[in-house]
Symmetry: C2
Subunit: 741 residues, 2 copies
């Protein structure tokens, strides 16, 4: 810990430091590189924002069809204030775009090539070659600061484009926009957009901006008609925008503060009150301090390279969802309100469990917000963005989050209501749009015990519904709802209904296989265990070979189905080593780039082979994660890839919905997790290194641990994990995973 | 036609007069009494508005729990700018309330008793006793004028309450509000409300108001905290409001123009540009002239009393839906946009067919708007309000409107898309909320051929779905989609699946009867043909005796089921004469106060007994309609009761979805309908009087008409209907209804 953060600024900015109880907080921001994972399909958002920040300010590049706005190539159009991070599918957001230009405003194309692009935590800076201008950006929760530097020019301008937004397939569409220049230093307006990845209803981004320098001139536009001097453009469904003009001396700076709201321009102005300084560095420091609160939850002893990957991964995990408490345009409630669950299908596996470990109060807030969505809109969603539910890819995995919170002892959640919401998911068809919320194909699943290929994603749905049903059973049992528990425990075995024992591949028999509505299997001529899929297919972002490992709630039954432990181990070996596909994305058949394989490496623990878990995990950490722009194995998916890294770097991984961590292979000799309740979880891994990847022995809270798993509830009030590592597999862990029930 | 309207004003206000081709338009406004039907359950909105006007400005009274705002009793809180007319169920709207007060603002209760309440077309006026103030209101399409008169006072105020709205059961809830005083004569803001009758998503009513008199002081409030001098209240989910203060001399007037928008305050200001005069009488005259365009579509020769009922009924028919073209906050489209279909289950029967007859271009616009809703939101709805679909009471009756337009030759509608939307209704379950859109219970209906009592409203749904299926078949046949036509023609006979031939009542056998999911009938101990119902029941706003007449598309098959013509005639006789229930609401079993019985009087025509049709219709017109505040038999239901009157007063009634009018008994000796295409339909009824109610003979376009029905397409290009009336039944019409296929 080299540098100490300037506490004076932090205090001045009223940021509460609770995690370190009086100790100075380390400045870990040096280990966060916002450019890690922005490229090569990672789609990480590289711009400034605070944890769960509503404002994410950054450049929109190229064809404005990149999920996070940024692209390696292409011109920069300007800097919009709302983005998502790490998503795939169609774009969302990219609203309220500012840009510093000089000379005539080219309405056809005002974009510019870039120079000197640089990012750091809470900072994005770049030069716009076309104009000789440059920009520095930083952000707080609901506001952004844009600091623009101009050349000497009689015709410098800052433009505000309300007709600009990101769009690719699953398009966004403009619904309307409006702009009003209030004074020579103030402007407000909104942009209303519908569509995008979740095919959502319209959302409206309101803004209020205040400039430190009075403009010499101003004007507005509607569609392509620029109207100098006109200070207002009403909403007539056409794109609008405005500009402020300045006569600038060389290197003259103009700073803009932008408040953002989903309610109104007035609320946007109020939101801007959080930014009480005009000093860019001070504002950035406040942003950084918010991150240091999160980053300092974990102290590790490791190389700078290790720390850079690790802390950047931790940072990625806290980019989404977005805290919009007080910004809900749909109902009034005292509950917290989070949006941009994008989506839980990705994040329930590692990201939310990480919140539960590090910041359980935030996880409780999110689950309360999801229950409030259920209360007012009828479904606790699997995904939500722009205040609208959608899209559901597989199961109703929010179910698993409620149960995960319950078994891990999180307080402050109405679990009775949660059970109601989970049963609603399981029992009530969402109707016309089965991608919006709830469970699709449940008329099949609830009658036949499997989703037939009459419905899309039948394989993924069946396997995930079984796991979700187990979550319902678990919570129901906890709440003493015996009948419900029994019903859903039975249903949790439904995955077996798609298990075709006759299908053979690479020497293994029995795989998840499509069935017709009448119960008959598809012919082997019509399907393959290697066939990938997406929305309309049998499997979603996976294939049968991989999906046939997905029974997180009953791995032992799966092992039996596969012919016992030895056969199962060989099956895993083949999965992780088979040289079939493009090695860029796959290790054997294992694709860490998509979430369905997330849990699979740790399945070795269930057959008492944590040495093999260690090998696969360590290989994945090493080969698939690095400090480059392509340093993440796939779409980060709101931090999912990154959270997977954080857990395994610490040496364990959750099986979400169960009070269970599966031990893999700690990478740091020392790590301390500062729990929210003030206690510490100390993790020591003697001799841990790139070579010493095998656990030789473990003590949990001072007692020898034979199983290669432990419970969250064993460490929730602090504790110690003491590993001894070695370069060879040991006999430790051969007893396997302790029964979590 | 006693008075001639001031053409100068009309021209000055740019109102096009097309219907009379150069002839001076009569001022028929004297025959409109906006107080007819406001009481006794009619729920008609008594305030000023233009045809299909978005702004409906009027008082909110008593507990603010009356559907149209107004109530006979109770204090007046003030005058809000958006209302609906004639609705039942929970309240909707009542937003952006203004009130003229004096003295301290009592935040607990600023309402006042009233004096001298008076209405006329385009005018509402009243004195507020508590304050010694008075108000005159008038309106245009998207703007209202409030003219307030004050006593001499140092503390006169106009308050604007953005936390006020109507609410009863099926409650409305505040989501947020905001207000900003722009100058001493200008103010803007919004109120955002969710819920109400259709349990809708939030809608936001924006306003911009400009006053003719500068205020001496101003202030705002949030919740109950009044803050003098504070000019802005941001949206923090609390109710907000504002006031302007004046030192007034006795009888000093302050006039306010209010622009309303569903998009933004800027658009509200733009909408106000339609009101280019500060002269109250001029603005009112413009409002009246818009109505004269509609009223002059029909000229009649009759008593003043007759005309008053007739023209007020015509006026009621044009209050809703609401033309919000250019005010759609959900998507951009070149299509027209209408909202407040409230609901088609009511209005498809008589109101929309009236639009088709008098103003087909408006009907085309509405159907295009419904198709655009299908295009963007997935379902062509049965009801919609506040930009959100819902609720569906019975069938997907919008299907019948599309077919009605098709068979009547309306151009400009994408009938292929309409067929697609209709099939969507028929085939795709709306899921969780089956009251929102589409058809509920179709898993039953489409598999078993009837909706079982596993689902709510099973009887009403089955009967109406059969009629809707007939509409699909009819349109499909027209579009040469033979297979579709055949499929749905078969399904149109599904009503027979709920016909229980063994149930007997009052000497008649065979009634619509509830069936269990397994196909077995309910026991007669558990149900009764007289049992009424609502949302959760077997029937909706009807009972089996009545519903068993509801087969509009296959009356002949129904007659057979009932045992032939004579038996059917006796059954009708019993229905209209049986003395069972409260005579305030029923004539026999016939309840004109709810729509399911609307068509039944004309069923006599199908058995060649138009004399009995005449008797029932004339009795209903005479006994159930008058010029009092209770002058409508039930909830006007967006003009439904009134449109029923208009048709029957002219002497015929539509069987919607078919090119068919059923002749009843014309009440006017002469009537001329000025069709939109410039042609006239002349209706003469020689000797027509209260006694001469029986048709003796008819000539259609100069040729003798034997059937007691004719086609819309026979008169769509103008024509003549010449009746001879008499005091005794004649032999005319005994051949019955001509086959409409």
């Amino acid at each position: 810990m080299n540098k100490y953060f300037n506490i004076a600024i932090v205090t001045a900015l009223s940021v509460a430091i609770t995690s370190f109880k009086g100790n100075a907080m380390s400045d870990l921001s040096q280990y966060v590189d916002p450019f890690i994972g922005v490229d090569g399909g990672g789609n990480v958002f590289p711009g400034p924002c605070v944890p769960f920040g509503m404002v994410k300010v950054g450049p929109d590049c190229g064809g404005k069809d990149w999920n996070a706005g940024w692209d390696r190539d292409g011109n920069i159009h300007g800097f919009s204030n709302v983005h998502v991070s790490g998503t795939g599918g169609g774009c969302k957001y990219g609203n309220v775009l500012f840009a510093p230009i000089t000379g005539n405003l080219d309405m056809q194309d005002y974009s510019s090539p870039r120079n000197n692009e640089h990012v750091a935590l809470g900072l994005y800076e770049v030069d716009l070659k076309r104009y000789g201008t440059s920009a520095r950006l930083t952000a707080l929760q609901r506001s952004a600061m844009h600091e623009y530097t101009f050349p000497a020019s009689d015709d410098s301008k800052i433009i505000i484009d309300l007709g600009s937004f990101l769009s690719s397939h699953e398009r966004q569409y403009l619904v309307g926009s409006e702009v009003r220049i209030i004074s020579d230093k103030e402007i407000e307006g909104y942009t209303r957009v519908r569509g995008g990845w979740n095919i959502g209803e319209p959302y409206t981004v309101y803004f209020y901006a205040v400039f430190d320098t009075p403009s010499d001139d101003c004007g507005t536009w509607k569609s392509h008609r620029v109207e100098p001097g006109k200070r207002e453009q009403y909403d007539t469904s056409e794109p609008t925008g405005a500009y402020f003009s300045y006569r600038t001396s060389d290197k003259q700076k103009v700073t803009v503060k932008v408040g953002i709201s989903y309610l109104s321009t007035g609320k946007a102005r109020m939101n801007l009150s959080e930014m009480n300084s005009w000093n860019f560095d001070e504002v950035r420091a406040a942003c950084v301090s918010r991150w240091n609160e999160i980053l300092n939850k974990i102290e590790v002893k490791g190389s700078d390279e290790q720390k850079k990957i690790f802390y950047t991964a931790l940072y990625h995990s806290y980019l989404q969802p977005v805290d919009k408490t007080g910004e809900n345009s749909k109902w009034i409630s005292d509950e917290p309100y989070y949006d941009d669950y994008y989506c839980i299908w990705d994040t329930f596996r590692a990201t939310h469990p990480l919140f539960t470990l590090l910041t359980p109060s935030k996880q409780v807030d999110m689950l309360r917000s999801l229950l409030d969505i259920y209360r007012y809109e009828g479904y606790a969603p699997d995904a939500r963005s722009g205040d609208d539910n959608g899209r559901v890819q597989g199961g109703s995995n929010v179910d698993i989050l409620f149960t995960d919170a319950y078994v891990k002892g999180l307080k402050g959640i109405d679990y009775e209501l949660a059970l109601e919401a989970m049963i609603k998911n399981a029992e009530v068809s969402p109707g016309d749009d089965e991608r919006k919320e709830g469970r699709g194909g449940i008329s099949d699943y609830n009658e036949k015990g499997f989703v037939s290929t009459k419905f899309e994603r039948a394989g993924t749905r069946t396997m995930e519904y079984a796991n979700c049903d187990y979550a319902i059973a678990t919570l129901a049992r906890g709440l003493k709802e015996k009948e419900i528990a029994q019903k859903y425990m039975e249903r949790s075995r439904n995955w077996q209904n798609l298990w075709n024992p006759d299908v053979e591949s690479l020497g293994f028999k029995g795989f998840v296989w499509p069935r017709y509505s009448d119960g008959s299997w598809w012919s082997e001529n019509d399907y393959s265990v290697f066939q990938g899929g997406t929305w309309p297919d049998f499997v979603y972002e996976t294939f049968s070979w991989e999906l046939s490992f997905y029974v997180p709630h009953d791995v032992n039954a799966l092992i039996e189905k596969c012919g016992g432990k030895e056969q199962f181990t060989r099956r895993l070996d083949t999965y992780f080593s088979h040289e079939k596909w493009d090695q860029r994305w796959y290790m054997g058949l294992f694709q860490i780039s998509n979430e369905p394989g997330f849990l699979t490496p740790t399945l070795y623990n269930y057959v008492g082979r944590p040495d093999k878990t260690a090998e696969v995990v360590r290989k994945t950490l090493k080969e698939r994660y690095n400090t480059t722009k392509e340093g993440i194995p796939g779409n980060d998916d709101s931090g999912s890839m990154s959270s997977w890294y954080v857990f395994h770097a610490l040496g364990f991984y959750p099986n979400t919905g169960q009070d269970l961590y599966l031990i893999s292979s700690p990478t740091f000799e020392e790590a301390v997790i500062h729990l929210e309740n003030g206690r510490d979880l100390s993790i020591k891994a003697k001799k841990a290194s790139d070579k010493n990847i095998y656990v030789q022995s473990v003590k949990l809270n001072g007692e020898p641990l034979d199983a290669c798993s432990f419970k969250h509830t064993d460490i929730a009030n602090g504790g110690t994990l003491e590993f001894v590592m070695g370069s060879k597999p040991s006999k430790w862990g051969t007893v396997g995973v302790e029964n979590q029930l």
